[in-house]
């Protein structure tokens, strides 16, 4: 069994702040991390490897410093790591990104047939969830997104059964391998990497593929040229100017604070009071 896991190195968007004067992103000091959703995908692949044997190859498209993300993946137990990196990829939107990654996976497949492609449901910087579906389409793989559970895997019959989150319920889907799976957070709990694993990962040779090594011939499909979407402008959100009315009482006893709050709430929002009264009845 051979699983390719697509990962991305991203800035930790929870720590991103916007400079109050220049309205630009303050990147200094914001750590680069492996996209958290991709870690769930990696762990899921490693669990399948534990169970069925085989290999896990991690693929990452990014600048040279993205090698740190690949080393992290190796330390958890991935067997091979490939960094897809080329100046020509700069400015790629999701269409151009899926083109490059699909080409690389195709090349990987030639060397060692790929049974499954895993990815996280989306990235925390782009938040589009579009690259996984794009890769599946380009490689003609069945697409299974928002997977919350891998129910069964039959490598001989080349079949997989999964649970997929839908609105209002869960679909239980069966499909044929090879296919592409994007996983939901919480599908598993990440294992720990030992110090030995981390040392081994640091010494592991990383493959770096440029566009030629990835077998990309049509340069009009990558980078800015291959990106139908363009960013017209970037700006800081305009916060609504509505400061909260502070509930303060002498003594600050919770009971009194709450009583004052409810009085104000019901006085100024009679419809809300009726709504709440109906629920409490």
């Amino acid at each position: 069994m051979h699983i390719v896991v697509c990962i991305k190195q991203v800035p930790d968007s929870a720590q991103i702040r916007v400079h109050p004067v220049s309205n630009t992103i303050m990147r200094q000091g914001v750590p680069a991390i492996v996209n958290p959703y991709d870690l769930f995908a990696l762990e899921e692949a490693l669990r399948l490897k534990d169970r069925y044997g085989g290999r896990v190859t991690v693929l990452c498209m990014g600048p040279s410093q993205a090698d740190a993300a690949l080393r992290k993946a190796l330390s958890f137990g991935a067997d091979e790591a490939i960094l897809l990196s080329d100046r020509a990829f700069a400015g790629s939107d999701t269409l151009a990104t899926s083109y490059a990654l699909a080409a690389a996976i195709q090349r990987i497949h030639v060397d060692m047939p790929v049974d499954l492609v895993f990815a996280g449901k989306q990235t925390i910087d782009g938040d589009t969830a579009q690259v996984g579906p794009g890769i599946a389409k380009r490689l003609n793989l069945q697409l299974l997104t928002y997977v919350s559970k891998i129910d069964a895997l039959d490598l001989d019959r080349k079949e997989i059964v999964i649970h997929r989150r839908a609105e209002g319920g869960v679909q239980v889907l069966k499909t044929r391998l090879p296919c592409l799976v994007t996983v939901l957070e919480g599908i598993n709990e990440m294992r720990f990497a030992t110090m030995d694993d981390m040392f081994r990962a640091a010494r592991h040779p990383l493959e770096v593929w440029d566009k030629v090594a990835a077998g990309i011939e049509d340069l009009s499909k990558i980078g800015l040229k291959g990106s139908p979407t363009v960013v017209a402008k970037v700006f800081a959100p305009h916060p609504k100017a509505r400061k909260a009315e502070r509930i303060e009482v002498h003594g600050d006893a919770p009971k009194d604070l709450v009583a004052t709050l409810l009085t104000k709430l019901f006085t100024h929002h009679p419809q809300l009071e009726r709504e709440i009264a109906a629920r409490l009845a």
């Binding site: 939107d93 999701t94 910087d125 579906p133 502070r246 009583a259 419809q271 409490l280």
Partner: protein
């Protein structure tokens, strides 16, 4: 993802002469999400937006309905006219009964290729994002995800789609200038629910799918509805009680459940709590979780950072409880209590319980 430049836009605003092939694309379409006999409300929200965009363009609104044959789907078509569609494109086929990527992609691609809309909108649900990503790649066109605002750029008549980026820290406006259709997904509850107009007539165009079950590789073995499991129904909840890191320990989250129970409310949480495993992911409110517009949102121990804020700031009334008097949440909440959530929450629960008892006695 689109590289977000931090200093200047990657391209200036340019007047673009639309390629004549692309100028043939007309109309603003909405993919109507219809499954198991019901239509997801985001479909109506999008029809409302489509109407506004189409009016600016002098174009028609098209609703696309795919699903299994029956009364329910025909009803859905009539509903699209009530919500503003001029044309309803219908493909009904038994293989479309439950969403699967393959037949839906074939159906929607066929309609787009034949009727050529300039704009195609889908709800950013698991279905819409799955389908949208496939369609955009099949058609080799631009797709902008999770848009919070859609307008028409008067200079070039193209769609300007604004969306949060970097988890909500910044907004960016994205355009698809030289490709059609221009695609966008929008989350439920981000746009207003339009008025459901009186019944009106529209044009119904029916097409066939041309795909047989035997050729479809993915099979649906079962559908397990959420009522059978403990799942949140946050998006359309009227009252939500939500907790953040200020609650300090997982045991304290029980206070949120207690208050929610008394109010018959849904329970939400911020991303860090989901990542720490305090509650299930379907309860996340925020930029990468759910957008909610309840009548009342109670936020306990939540700082109000932008990533959470964008998911709930459209709530009618927001009550914020936080120990930190400088917490950002006090900048946009309706009422604020500076205090210890672990004391305020139980006091609120008691107060509502007593109020409820009083209200019942008063009859």
């Amino acid at each position: 993802m689109t590289e977000v430049p931090t200093k200047r836009p990657a391209t200036g605003r340019r007047k673009v002469e639309l390629d004549p092939r692309l100028a043939a694309y007309k109309g603003v379409w909405v993919f109507i999400e219809h499954e198991r006999g019901t239509t997801h409300p985001v479909s109506w929200e999008l029809l409302g937006e489509a109407r506004k965009l189409a009016d600016q363009l002098g174009a028609e609104v098209g609703a696309v309905v795919l699903g299994e044959p029956g009364n329910a789907i025909r009803e859905a078509c009539h509903e699209t006219f009530r919500y503003g569609a001029d044309i309803c494109y219908l493909i009904e086929d038994p293989v479309l009964a439950s969403y699967r990527n393959e037949p839906y992609t074939v159906g929607l691609t066929h309609l787009v290729d034949k009727f050529k809309p300039e704009i195609l909108l889908l709800g950013a649900t698991t279905l819409g994002r799955d389908l949208g990503g496939s369609i955009a790649t099949t058609l080799a066109t631009g797709l902008t995800a999770d848009c919070t605002e859609l307008t028409i750029d008067p200079e070039n008549r193209s769609l300007a789609a604004t969306r949060p980026t970097f988890g909500g820290s910044l907004l960016c406006t994205i355009q698809t200038l030289n490709y059609r259709p221009q695609m966008a997904t929008v989350r439920p509850r981000v746009m207003h629910m339009p008025e459901r107009g009186s019944p009106r007539s529209g044009r119904l165009i029916e097409e066939t799918l041309g795909v047989i079950e035997e050729s479809i590789i993915t099979k649906v073995l079962e559908y397990i509805p959420d009522e059978q499991q403990d799942q949140a129904q946050l998006a359309y909840a009227d009252i939500i009680v939500s907790g953040g890191r200020g609650l300090k320990r997982p045991e304290n989250f029980q206070l949120i459940w207690d208050l929610a129970k008394v109010l018959g409310a849904e329970v939400g949480a911020t991303r860090p709590l989901i990542q720490a495993g305090w509650v299930s992911a379907d309860r996340q409110v925020g930029q990468t979780g759910k957008t909610v517009r309840p009548k009342l949102y109670i936020a306990a121990g939540i700082s109000g950072a932008i990533q959470h804020r964008v998911g709930m700031e459209s709530s009618d009334v927001i009550i914020a409880i936080n120990e930190d008097p400088n917490a950002q949440i006090f900048d946009f909440a309706t009422y604020g209590i500076v205090g210890n959530a672990m004391q305020i929450l139980p006091a609120l629960t008691d107060a509502f319980r007593i109020y409820g008892a009083t209200a019942r006695r008063a009859g």
